[in-house]
C-alpha cells in the first residue's frame, strides 16, 4: 500500500514537472521591457497607507492626472503612459519586495519617483536597478548620495539635496535670526544625517537637537517628549526636518503644550493638507517659515500652477491642489519630456542618455534650474523661503520669490539669477 502511494507521488511529481515544462514557453522578447507599440509602463513605490502616508498618497493621483492629460492629447509618439503604483508603507523591506514585483511581474520600463531615503537605499543595494540598467527617474528624496553617478548609474535626483536645503536654511537663519537659541528636530536615519551634514558644513550650531525614529510620530507619547526637550532647551527658533506626519505631530503637540517658537519647516514636512489630515488645524502653520522650489500653489497667476490645477481638479474634483500634487505633476511633466526625448522607440538606455543630454533644458514648473549632464545626475539645486498664511499656504515674503542656490559640497550659497523658460504650448512636451 505504502509502496503504491510512493509510486503515485512520483507519477504526480513527474506529471507536474512535464506539464510545467510544456506550458512555459519562453516569451518573445519585445524591443524593450515595459514598452509596447501602444504603451509605456512605469512603476512607483511609496507609502499609500501607514503612518508616513498622509500627503504622499496624493502623488500617484497627481502623476496619473498628468499622464491621462498627455494620453488624451495623443500620448508620447502614439504610446500612452501608464503608472503602476505599489504601497511600501515607508518600510524598506516592503519597498524591496514591491520594487521586485514592479520589475519582475509588472515589467515596467523604469521606476518613477520612488519615495524615501532609506527605501531607495535598500532598493539600490538589493534590487540593484543600477547594475541591471533600469532607470530610476526623479527619486522622491533629497538624499545627496543619489546624485552619485558612479554608485547609482541609472538614478536621477530631482529634489534639491537635504545638504543643499540645510546650507540654504543656515544662511537664512544667519540673516534673519542671528543670536537666537536654535532647536532642531530631525529623523534619525540617512534623511536626517544628510541634513546634519549640511548644517555642519554651514557652521550652524544648535542649542538643542532632538532625533526621532521613523514611525515614532504615530505613537501617543513621542511627540510630547520631543516638544518637552525642545522647550527645556529654551529653543526660540526650531527647525523641523522631518516627514509631513512628524511635522504635523510636532506642531500639533506644541500648540497644545503652548510652546510657540519661530518654526522653520523643511521642504519635506511643511504641508498643510497633511497637517489637516492628521487632525491638526492648519492654523498651527501660521507664520512658520517654509522652503520650496516650486511656485506657491495659490499663485494662480503662474501658468504652470494654473494648468496643473485645472488638470488635477478635473481628474480629482474632491481633492485639494497642494504642494505634493504640484511636485507630483511636475515630475510627470518631466517624465513625459524625457520619454519624448528618448526617441521614437525609447529604450532604457536611450531614456538615460536623453536626460543626460537634454535634461538640463527640460521645461519645468520650478523656479530653480535643473543640473543634468553626462557627468551630473543632480536635479534642482535651490530654494526660496516664505511664510505660511493662516490657511496654511506658503507664500513668498513680499510676494517676490528670492531663490538661493548651492551644491551638496563646499560651494557657497548664492542668490539665483535663473529665469524660468516659458511653458510649452498646452503644457505638453515639444
Amino acid at each position: 500500500m505504502k509502496a503504491m502511494n510512493r509510486r503515485k507521488l512520483f507519477t504526480v511529481c513527474a506529471t507536474i514537472a512535464v506539464a510545467s515544462l510544456a506550458v512555459t514557453a519562453i516569451p518573445a522578447q519585445a524591443a524593450e521591457v515595459g514598452v509596447s507599440s501602444s504603451e509605456i509602463k512605469l512603476g512607483m513605490t511609496l507609502p499609500m497607507t501607514g503612518t508616513a502616508s498622509p500627503g504622499y498618497n496624493k502623488i500617484p493621483g497627481a502623476v496619473k492626472a498628468y499622464f491621462d492629460y498627455v494620453n488624451a492629447n495623443g500620448g508620447i509618439n502614439g504610446r500612452k503612459l501608464t503608472l503602476v503604483v505599489k504601497d511600501d508603507q515607508y518600510v524598506p523591506t516592503l519597498a524591496v519586495a514591491k520594487t521586485n514585483e514592479l520589475i519582475l511581474k509588472d515589467k515596467v520600463m523604469a521606476l518613477l519617483a520612488p519615495l524615501g531615503t532609506a527605501n531607495n537605499k535598500a532598493v539600490a543595494s538589493v534590487v540593484n536597478p543600477g547594475a541591471r540598467g533600469i532607470p530610476t527617474l526623479f527619486v522622491n528624496t533629497g538624499f545627496s548620495g543619489f546624485a552619485d553617478k558612479k554608485k547609482y548609474p541609472t538614478t536621477f535626483s530631482l529634489l534639491p539635496s537635504y545638504i543643499m536645503e540645510a546650507k540654504i536654511m543656515a544662511e537664512y537663519i544667519k540673516d534673519n535670526f542671528a543670536g537666537k537659541k536654535l532647536g532642531l528636530l530631525y529623523q534619525d536615519d540617512d534623511f536626517g544625517d544628510d541634513a546634519l551634514a549640511g548644517f555642519k558644513q554651514a557652521g550652524l550650531n544648535f542649542d538643542v537637537k532632538v532625533a526621532y525614529a521613523s514611525g515614532s510620530q504615530g505613537d501617543k507619547v513621542s511627540p510630547a517628549q520631543w516638544v518637552t526637550k525642545l522647550q527645556a532647551g529654551g529653543a526660540e527658533v526650531v527647525i523641523l526636518f522631518g516627514v509631513s506626519s512628524a511635522t504635523a505631530a510636532a506642531l500639533g503637540t506644541a500648540s497644545v503644550m503652548k510652546f510657540a517658537p519661530q518654526w522653520i519647516l523643511g521642504s519635506v514636512g511643511g504641508d498643510a493638507t497633511t497637517i489637516k489630515a492628521s487632525g491638526v488645524p492648519a492654523g498651527v502653520l501660521y507664520n512658520a517659515v517654509g522652503a520650496s522650489f516650486a511656485p506657491a500653489t495659490t499663485d494662480t497667476a503662474d501658468e504652470y500652477v494654473k494648468l496643473f490645477q485645472e488638470i488635477y481638479l478635473k481628474a480629482n474634483p474632491t481633492e485639494t491642489f497642494d504642494n505634493n500634487v504640484m511636485v507630483g505633476m511636475n515630475t510627470a511633466f518631466l517624465t513625459a519630456q524625457a520619454l519624448k526625448a528618448a526617441g521614437t522607440n525609447p529604450t532604457r538606455k536611450s531614456l538615460i542618455a536623453a536626460i543626460e543630454k537634454s535634461g538640463k533644458n527640460f521645461a519645468s514648473a520650478a523656479l530653480v534650474p535643473l543640473n543634468y549632464s553626462t557627468t551630473s545626475h543632480v536635479g534642482y539645486n535651490g530654494y526660496w523661503f516664505g511664510k505660511y498664511s493662516p490657511t496654511g499656504d506658503l507664500k513668498p515674503a513680499g510676494g517676490v520669490y528670492t531663490v538661493y542656490t548651492t551644491d551638496s559640497g563646499n560651494g557657497a550659497v548664492v542668490k539665483s539669477t535663473y529665469k524660468r523658460p516659458a511653458m510649452p504650448a498646452k503644457g505638453l512636451p515639444n
Binding site: C13, L21, P92, A122, D188, D189
Partner: protein
C-alpha cells in the same frame, strides 16, 4: 530494513531537487523569485510543524527566532566575511541556542501561558534592534550573499541563485526534519504530546524532550530567517513583524499541523495569496487601504475555513478518508 527506507527517502529528495533544478531553468524570473519564497516558507513552516504538531507546544513567536537567525547570519557575514554556507550554519546554531533557552522556560509552561510568552517574544525581540547600533535600527542591515559564481554563466540571475540556495536548504532541512521525526526523538515527542504522564512512566524525560524539540525547531526557524533575509536583502525589525509569526502558524494549520508532507500546501498558499489579493484588487479597483489589508483578510478567512472543515489539514484528511475506504473494502 529501516536503513533501506531512509536511503529510499533520500532518493526522493534527490529526485525532487532535480525536478526543481529543471523547473528553475524553464520559468521566468518572477516564478524563480516566488520559488525561493516558497522554499523559505517550507523551512519555516516545518519548524512549526515539528514543534506544535509533533511535540505539542504552541509558539506564536517563531518570527522572533527567525530574526535571531537572520541577525546572526548577517552579522557573521558582514563583520567576519564568513562564506555563505557557514553563515547559514551559524544562523541555525545561534537560533538553536536561543530556542534552547526559550525551551527551558517553555518546558514549565503550557497552553495559553506558553502562547503568551512566545507572543511577547515575537513583539519585543525584533524591536531590540532599535536599541543597538550594531543591529542597524529600523533601517536594518544589508545582507548580501554575493553574486552567483561566474562559472554558472552570464544568464544566471541573482534570483535564480537565491532559488538554488533556498531550495537546497529546504530539501536538506526537510530531509533532516523528516528523519528526526521518524527517530526515537520524534516518537518521544509524540508520546509526550499525547499523554505526558504516560510518557514519563515509560521512561521518557518529558521536559528534556520538550526542550530538545524547541531547540531543533528554533534552529530550523533560524535557517528560515537567514534565507528570508537573503531573498529580501535586508535584515530589519520590519522584516519580522508579528504578522509573520501568525502567517507561519496559519501556514502550518493549512498544511496540516501534524503532517510534515503537507508543508508545500501551506508554503504555496502563503506565497500565492498576496498574488491573488493583488489580482482581485486590480480587477475590482478597491481602495488602497483594502488592497493592503486584503492578503491578511484572505489568510485569516482560509484559516477559519480550514479549522472548520479540515481541522487536521488536507493531507491528513485525505489519508483518513483513504484508510476508511480501505477498511470498508476489506469488509
Amino acid at each position: 530494513m529501516d536503513k533501506l527506507k531512509g536511503a529510499n527517502k533520500l532518493g526522493l529528495y534527490v529526485v525532487s531537487g532535480f525536478i526543481l533544478f529543471l523547473l528553475g531553468n524553464r520559468v521566468d524570473e518572477l516564478r524563480v523569485y516566488q520559488g525561493a519564497s516558497i522554499a523559505v516558507f517550507v523551512v519555516a513552516i516545518s519548524s512549526i510543524i515539528l514543534l506544535t504538531g509533533y511535540s505539542g507546544q504552541v509558539s506564536l513567536g517563531h518570527g522572533a527566532l527567525m530574526a535571531i537567525g537572520a541577525y546572526s547570519a548577517v552579522i557573521s557575514r558582514n563583520s567576519f566575511h564568513t562564506p555563505v554556507i557557514l553563515t547559514f550554519v551559524i544562523a541555525v546554531l545561534i537560533a538553536a541556542i536561543g530556542g534552547a533557552l526559550l525551551g527551558a522556560a517553555a518546558a514549565r509552561l503550557s497552553g495559553p501561558y506558553l502562547a503568551g510568552t512566545t507572543l511577547a517574544l515575537a513583539i519585543g525581540l525584533p524591536s531590540l534592534a532599535n536599541q543597538f547600533s550594531i543591529l542597524g535600527g529600523e533601517q536594518g542591515i544589508f545582507f548580501d550573499v554575493g553574486f552567483p559564481p561566474p562559472s554558472l554563466g552570464e544568464g544566471f540571475t541573482q534570483y535564480k541563485w537565491f532559488f538554488w540556495i533556498a531550495a537546497l536548504a529546504a530539501l536538506i532541512s526537510m530531509w533532516l526534519v523528516a528523519n528526526i521525526l521518524r527517530s526515537r526523538f520524534g516518537r518521544n515527542w509524540r508520546a509526550g504530546r499525547s499523554n505526558e504522564t504516560a510518557a514519563a512512566l515509560s521512561g521518557i524525560n518529558v521536559s528534556r524532550s520538550k526542550i530538545l524539540a524547541f531547540t531543533i525547531s528554533a534552529g530550523v526557524a533560524g535557517l528560515a530567517g537567514a534565507l528570508l533575509s537573503m531573498t529580501i536583502g535586508i535584515v530589519s525589525p520590519s522584516a519580522f513583524p508579528l504578522t509573520l509569526s501568525f502567517s507561519l502558524l496559519t501556514g502550518a494549520v493549512l498544511s496540516g499541523v501534524s503532517t510534515l508532507s503537507g508543508v508545500m500546501i501551506g508554503a504555496v498558499t502563503l506565497v500565492a495569496i498576496p498574488e491573488i489579493a493583488d489580482a482581485v484588487a486590480t480587477r475590482i479597483g478597491v481602495s488602497e487601504r483594502l488592497t493592503t489589508n486584503l492578503p491578511g483578510l484572505m489568510v485569516s478567512t482560509l484559516l477559519i475555513l480550514t479549522v472548520l472543515f479540515v481541522p487536521n489539514g488536507p493531507v491528513e484528511q485525505h489519508r483518513t478518508r483513504q484508510a476508511r475506504k480501505a477498511a470498508r473494502e476489506k469488509h
